[in-house]
Amino acid sequence: MTDEALMAAIQEQDKAAFAELYDRYADRLLRFLQRMLGNDHEKAQDFLQEVFMRVIRSADNFKTGKTVRPWIYAISMNLCKNEYRRLTVRQNTEDGVDIDSVPQKANDTESQIDMALFQRALEAEIHKLPAYLRSTFLLRFQCGMTIREISEIMACSQGTVKSRLFYMTQNLAEILKSYNPYNVGEN
């Protein structure tokens, strides 16, 4: 059953369809929200709940022929935008990275520490980005969305999305290559 069919069922007040849609998106959305909110886990959980409450409330507004994924992420984005307006979340950046959760690409301890540093630097750089750039970056590299989907969520042209992504990716690579555990030491 497609997401769109589930939405049609939710419009008919099908509780099971709602549960199924939640199972499909909750995990991904929670991760996305955590990053968008400066790794504030509790707030991300509250936001996740609010996103799905809005899905229930505005199910009737979902138009047939549209895709569910950009719609749900657009709801999440709007919530985050409102939150940014209310307060700055950058304060959480410092203690936002859990070293234990760092993926272990290298085997030895030294490499793990380097990787942890790399991830910490990456998280810090992501949170330095303005909200619209951060969300574009996360939608692409964390959620794996297409350029078209991102442009739909962000309500801008595909060309704008591409140029934003190019600018951010290039910047991040430049900044973070000094943290790269495999760096050969460019001057």
């Binding site: 909750a26 799905f52 229930i56 409330r57 959760s101 350029i147 690579a173 050969v184």
Partner: protein
């Protein structure tokens, strides 16, 4: 080491490759260059790391997701009921609101009639007012006379005339 122009081009291509599909020729060019250029190799490796770190994350605790789900499902029915109620009230309001100008116009018309009527009454001439007073006084006098007659004779002059009329009709 100062970046060569070719390195800038290659890094530009590597970045572009993370956003959209590159032609095979460009990919081959990148691979060929990276084999001999450690700086561009690090650049490419850094982007790979960023990409993999963004995707490989610890999954949120299952218990949290389940708890949120239960809460949402509990609110599902309740919220839909509220939604329906609100929609009904919204429908009623929608039906009424388009008539608001009509109601306003009606009220305004009634108010205008009342004002005009009061104004007309207030604008009556003093001559008419004094005439009305005189007539009322005369009528009151007549009433008094009639009452006095009834007290004296036991019937009014009107009754007298009626009796006379009956007697005359019978005789004739």
């Amino acid at each position: 080491m100062k970046k060569e122009k070719i390195c800038l081009d290659i890094q530009h291509m590597i970045t572009r490759g993370k956003i959209e599909d590159l032609p095979r020729a460009d990919l081959a060019r990148i691979h060929k260059h990276i084999e001999t250029c450690p700086y561009c190799a690090v650049y490419a490796e850094t982007l790979e790391l960023i990409e993999s770190l963004m995707q490989r994350e610890t999954a949120p605790e299952e218990a949290i997701l389940v708890s949120i789900k239960e809460d949402l499902l509990a609110r599902f029915d309740r919220d839909l009921q509220t939604e329906h109620k609100n929609r009904f009230l919204g429908w009623v309001w929608e039906k009424l609101t388009w008539r608001i100008p009509v109601y306003q116009a009606g009220l305004a018309a009634i108010l205008m009639i009342f004002i005009v009527f009061a104004a007309i009454k207030g604008m009556e001439s003093p001559e008419k007012k004094s005439f009305d007073t005189e007539v009322n006084a005369s009528l009151a006098k007549l009433d008094t006379i009639q009452t006095n007659q009834m007290d004296n004779v036991g019937r009014s002059s009107l009754e007298d005339s009626t009796l006379i009329r009956i007697a005359v009709t019978t005789i004739m």
